[in-house]
């Protein structure tokens, strides 16, 4: 394990502590065309998963659009940080968002 990877794997992606707003829900619950802002990654999510989601651009405060679903509704393409990424619903469920108009 290099100094760098030790450094990076020690990162903690903590919940932001923002209380469940009226509009808060899981990213997986949104329909194509919806726009939301990321609150945080759920507490119970494995840290390796949380770190990778963070590195992929799913960071608190970032705007995310639901682009489209695959046949049979899984996975789903999201537009985040300027690029389109497909996530499975299982992962999208880990991300807490607040709906935007």
């Amino acid at each position: 394990m290099s100094v760098l990877s030790a450094f990076l794997s020690d990162r903690v992606i903590a919940p932001t502590g923002v209380a469940g707003e009226r509009t808060s829900c899981a990213l997986s619950e949104l329909k194509p065309g919806a726009r939301a802002r990321i609150i945080d990654v759920r507490d119970e999510v494995d840290q390796a998963v949380a770190r990778r989601l963070f590195d992929l651009g799913f960071r608190p405060g970032v705007q995310v659009d639901v682009v489209r679903r695959a046949p049979m509704a899984d996975p789903v393409i999201f537009r985040v940080a300027g690029c389109e990424l497909a996530l499975r619903r299982a992962q999208a469920r880990c991300i807490r968002v607040s709906l935007e108009a």
């Binding site: 290099s2 100094v3 760098l4 990877s5 450094f7 990076l8 794997s9 990162r11 903690v12 992606i13 494995d46 390796a48 998963v49 770190r51 990778r52 989601l53 963070f54 590195d55 992929l56 651009g57 960071r59 608190p60 405060g61 970032v62 659009d65 682009v67 489209r68 695959a70 046949p71 049979m72 899984d74 996975p75 393409i77 537009r79 985040v80 940080a81 300027g82 690029c83 389109e84 990424l85 497909a86 996530l87 499975r88 299982a90 992962q91």
Partner: protein, 646 residues
């Protein structure tokens, strides 16, 4: 860390600086690498692992700089062995791999909020860093904006925009590459705590007056069709079907030409070399072996051309997206589809591609299924066997019957691979965190012809090298097995064979060769499938590589009748037993052979790469065992079913 980096640089030859390319997948990293190094790139492997290593020299200001194309990754925090290589190379304390002297980081200008996260991580290392911005033209087209000079000031390292590896853009880059020690260093390195990194990214983007581009309208319109639940799925299957029709119809004339060339060369050798045994060795073993393999090069080149084109355009990611749900039924993820599709070319790269799968369970499961995908080495076998029983003219409109049979074999192979992967995924189900599935869906882009050509050439070269090493040696060993012990005129006369009758002599030599003994010895095993000793020799020989089966049968046939293999095989008759005198290659026997080759792991290269990738002999042993049993049972079933129908 500074001293360690200095030490590493000291090890490198003073005249040759090493610069490594770091960037996320789809960031234009490989295009830049090809533009800088051209055809001088060489492929290898990182020590201990089979992640491909691309290295090439670039001429900058009269100096040679070695450029290394590191595996693409979204993060230096590795979740797969592929990504671990990147972290290892960037670790100056890791003695296993040579660290570079400086890093070029390619950042896709259209995805800056994400890309800057990777840059922040790269800048945690002590290497001099230079940023190459790619796709700035696309950024402008999609109404985004970015001030390159301001970005450079904000991050504290040199930033250059290079569009599609354009020569004019490369001038300034080459100039910079000649003196990495002088690159500007940031006064304060970026932070590494997650929320601070997020704040750093926001501040850098606002300093650089960055405006996020709009979604690509062209991509959105195309995706509305290509990712549509009904049309998209339809297009996917039509694309895959067209894939195979092209391989068959477009490659045929080229293959015929190569076939004729080697037949002509063989004839030439026969007429020039007076020694009978030697001339037969050169024309049959050497030229026959090389030609019998080269003849399939057109198909391989076409296949890789299409795979690389689809990859470059961005369709492969879409195919994986469409297939993800289906793959998840097999306990795998959409990316395993790419590994399995690569196995259509060859199981060796396919098994190597499994390292893009983050979970060890998925990797093993995919490896266990991948060899069942119809690889290019099966093509020669299938083409020969199908040609024996399905007439070439038959068909329905533009669809040829031979092509349709082939497609069916591909389909059965693919389904069997999925079932096998599912079974092994089930067996290997264990605890451990479910690693996140994510797949970038890049905008549709026109791939650089150079990149497509280079990776196609690379694939062809790899195939030929593999061919050169294994197939040729096997063909020669086989020729020796089939032609030794050599018979003197006295031997022949003693056996009642007329030494002047060439055909009779050949038949006698083969019937009493070492190879025949092996073929006869295993006859009880394969007798239920309808294989005779001559087929058995081919089956055994194909263990080194499947395509050897063709060369062997060709040799067996050529030794008995001086015609082309197909015609000779069509008239081959069973020599003994209850079927004596009947045609050997009847539809039931050919069906048994096809199914046997569909399932059996007749490939030492696959076994070797499996051993390397799984780190143990256990998995290749299991794979070989279960596939042999499956092949035997399926072959028997096919013979019985086809026998009942015809």
């Amino acid at each position: 860390m500074t001293s360690a980096t200095g030490q590493t640089a000291g090890h490198a030859r003073q005249s040759e600086a090493r610069v490594a390319l770091v960037g996320s997948p789809n960031s234009g990293k490989t295009t830049l690498f090809n533009a800088l190094t051209g055809l001088r790139a060489k492929t290898g492997n990182y020590p201990g692992v089979t992640v491909s290593r691309y290295e090439g020299a670039a001429e900058v200001a009269g100096r040679r700089v070695v450029i290394e194309d590191l595996p693409g990754s979204y993060s230096l925090d590795p979740i797969s062995p592929d990504e671990r290589v990147l972290t290892d190379v960037l670790d100056p304390l890791n003695a296993g791999v040579q660290s570079p002297d400086a890093l070029l980081v390619t950042l896709d200008a259209t995805t800056m909020p994400r890309s800057l996260g990777l840059l922040a991580q790269v800048m945690q290392t002590d290497f001099p860093v230079c940023v190459v911005l790619t796709f700035t033209d696309e950024l402008t087209r999609r109404q985004g904006a970015l001030d390159v000079a301001a970005l450079s000031r904000a991050v504290g390292v040199p930033v250059l925009a290079v569009t599609g590896g354009r020569r004019s853009d490369l001038v300034a880059l080459r100039e910079l590459l000649s003196r990495p020690q002088e690159w500007a260093r940031p006064v304060v390195p970026p932070p590494h705590a997650p929320m601070e990194v997020a704040a750093w990214i926001t501040s850098v983007l606002s300093s650089a007056r960055y405006e996020l581009p709009e979604g690509d309208a062209r991509t959105r319109r195309v995706d509305a069709v290509l990712l549509h639940p009904v049309w998209g799925t339809l297009v996917f299957f039509v694309t895959m079907f067209a894939f195979f029709q092209v391989i068959f119809t477009a490659a045929a004339p080229l293959q015929d030409a190569i076939g004729s060339l080697f037949a002509w060369l063989g004839g030439l050798a026969n007429s020039r070399i007076s020694n009978g045994l030697l001339s037969s060795f050169v024309s049959e073993a050497l030229l026959g072996g090389v030609g019998g393999v080269l003849v399939f090069l057109p198909q391989i080149v076409l296949l890789f051309l299409m795979i690389n084109l689809l990859e470059g355009v961005g369709y492969m990611a879409r195919a994986a997206f469409l297939m993800d749900r289906v793959m998840s039924k097999a306990g795998l993820e959409g990316r395993a589809f790419v590994a399995l599709l690569s196995s259509v070319a060859c199981a060796v790269p396919g098994i190597m591609a499994t390292r893009t799968l983050p979970s060890a369970r998925d990797r093993i499961a995919t490896m266990m299924g991948a060899p069942l995908m119809t690889c290019s080495a099966r093509l020669p076998v299938y083409v020969l066997l199908i040609g024996l029983v399905v007439p070439s003219g038959a068909g329905w409109g533009p669809i040829s019957a031979q092509g349709a049979t082939m497609f069916g074999l591909y389909l059965v192979g693919a389904l069997s691979a999925m079932v096998a992967a599912w079974v092994f995924s089930r067996l290997g189900r264990s605890s451990g965190p479910l690693l996140p599935f994510s797949m970038e869906i890049p905008p549709y882009r026109i791939p650089s012809a150079r990149s497509v050509a280079l990776s196609t050439l690379d694939a062809a070269r790899t195939f030929l090298r593999k061919v050169g090493k294994i197939i040729l040696v096997t063909t020669i060993v086989l020729w020796l097995l089939l032609n030794l012990p050599a018979r003197s005129t006295a031997d022949l006369q003693a056996a009642g064979v007329n030494p002047a009758n060439h055909t009779a002599v050949s038949a006698y030599v083969i019937d009493h060769s070492f190879g025949a003994a092996v073929g006869h010895a295993v006859e009880p095993v394969f007798q239920p499938l309808g294989f005779d000793w001559r087929i058995n020799i081919g089956v055994l020989a194909s263990l080194s590589a499947r395509e050897v089966f063709v060369a062997t049968l060709g040799q067996v046939a050529a030794a008995e009748t001086p015609d082309t293999p197909t015609i000779a095989l069509r008239t081959m008759r069973v020599e003994e037993g209850p079927r004596a005198g009947e045609l050997l290659f009847t539809p039931p026997v050919v069906a048994a052979l096809l199914l046997f080759f569909l399932y059996a792991l007749q490939c030492m290269s696959t076994i070797a790469v499996m051993r390397r990738e799984s780190g143990t002999w256990r998995w290749p042993a299991i794979a070989f065992g279960y596939m042999f049993v499956l092949a035997w049972v399926m072959g028997l079933a096919a013979r019985l079913v086809v026998g009942a129908v015809t």
